[in-house]
């Protein structure tokens, strides 16, 4: 069942086309990665989904609700963790969460428990927080309400490795409750590790969609070798590894490297290619 749908979505800033004719959908209960270079159109897509900006043409629907007309209803079950969280400097973290709680109905999660888990001092003023701690505030804010969708833009940016792990443990718990997660990230290893599907965007257009579960079932190798005659070759291999070894044994090798192809390797080409 499609929870979020983009239909012919375009966004122009003046004459500049930030996103061009985007068509994709996100299914319920999945963690979907959104990968692309800086300026590829990721943040524009996310901000349009949240009605912070509106599409130039096309339509975005969430649970069948229009992202512009029904923005308020959508936000009742949607949370957002921005890449750079900005809050009001002159209040404390506690005051901020208490303000959030005024809007969240039926929230069973206590900000105190989450703050304790993420090691955040709620009595500090926002202006005294580091980027990592501001990120924790944003994460707690997102997890305070009963979500059906969590939209995240570079969520682990600024967090130390332990906190990143703790954060994804929380996200996986949300996934168990069938929460859909839309994750925009440059951290390719976390995308590889946690996402069910990855959408790749480049120059405002989707260029690939990767089913991560299928990808994990069909491992590929990257084989690189040089011969005694000083010629070198690199290729991708999928199939019976014994056949590969047999074929390689016929070559007068000087060096040989066989490594599993990670999704990170797959992604990096989209960053490199023009």
């Amino acid at each position: 069942m499609s929870l979020i749908t983009f239909e012919n979505f375009c966004k122009y800033y003046g004459k500049f086309c930030a996103v061009n004719n985007l068509n994709f959908s996100i299914e319920k209960g999945k963690i979907v990665g959104f990968v692309g270079k800086n300026g590829a159109g990721k943040s524009t897509t996310i901000r349009s989904l949240l009605n912070i900006i509106s599409p130039t043409s096309g339509k975005i629907t969430v649970k069948g609700l229009d992202s512009i007309k029904n923005s308020k209803e959508i936000k009742q079950f949607t949370s957002y963790i921005p890449s750079e969280p900005f809050f009001y400097d002159n209040i404390t973290v506690k005051q901020l969460f208490e303000f959030c709680n005024k809007f969240y109905k039926n929230n069973n999660t206590s900000y105190k428990d989450l703050a304790k888990y993420l090691e955040l001092d709620i009595n500090k003023k926002i202006s005294d927080l580091s980027l990592g701690n501001k990120k924790k505030v944003s994460i707690i804010q997102a997890l305070l309400k009963e979500n059906e969708i969590i939209i995240m833009d570079e969520p682990t940016n600024g967090l130390d490795p332990l906190m990143q792990q703790k954060f994804f443990d929380l996200i996986l718990k949300e996934k168990q409750k069938s929460v859909t997660v839309f994750l925009s990230s440059h951290n390719l290893s976390e995308v590889e590790k946690y996402c069910d599907e990855v959408i790749i965007i480049k120059n405002g257009e989707i260029i690939d969609t990767i089913d991560m579960n299928k990808h994990k079932l069909e491992p590929k190798q990257i084989v690189s070798y040089t011969t005694q005659e000083n010629t070198s070759n690199t290729f991708e291999f999928s199939g019976n590894i014994n056949d590969l070894i047999k074929d390689l044994s016929k070559i007068n090798l000087a060096t040989l490297e066989i490594k599993n192809k990670s999704v990170e390797d797959e992604f990096i080409k989209y960053y490199q290619e023009d």
Partner: protein
Amino acid sequence: MFEMKNIGKLLSFSIKTNIKTIIGWCIAIFSIMFMYMILFPSMEDMASIKLEAMPEELLQFMGMEDMSSLSNFSSYFGMIYGLILIAISIFTATFSSNLIAKEEKNKTIEFLYSFNVTKTEIYVSKVVTAVIASSLVIFSAFISTSICGFINGGDTFKFNDVLTITKISAITVFFFMSFSFLISGATTKISTAMLSSGFLLILYVLGYLGKLLEDKAKFLVYLSPFETFNSNNILDLHSNTIISIFVYFLITLLFFILGGILYNKRDFNV
């Protein structure tokens, strides 16, 4: 279209995050007003010596052309308040613009708009915040004046006159507030606070020119709420003033509504 509950929540938060600015302005205006009004008894003698030496045009520009005003507490208040009103209007114009523009400049709008609220609810909460803040600043001036009036106003202190001048001249403040909301509702890509303050100063100068040029360009007076709602006009309450009150009220309302419509339609500048 909007929920009052949400506006209430946003309003209390907006007041909380701006409380220091509001209190600061209240104290400043209270103090300045007190400083001027407490000197009322000694002002008449001082004015006849010092102000007579000043050029008439300069006194006119400062709204002090009528020396007899200095012997009447209400008129003296009207003169001083005419100048203080410029400061209050500048505060209102910049404060109102910043209520909208700063949210986008500091990107806190992403946080605020992540709640299940509409743009209209955010806009209305900002308008009400500005109305409360400006009313408190105006009220500070009024309280300060009233205290001085009871202390040293003597027979010429008329509480109702001070109240009437304060109430009606508040239209000036709300007019500039609505202009600020119109501009910042339309865009935050330009310095809306500067634009609003510039608009205010232009209208002030136009009003002064209208008064200076008298018959040649008297219409200019009506373009300036500072002149239209000066203390003499307020206390006399001619039919022209009543019509002006009505027209300025309509324009103010129109600016507020138009600002809201534009704010609702445009993208946030983040």
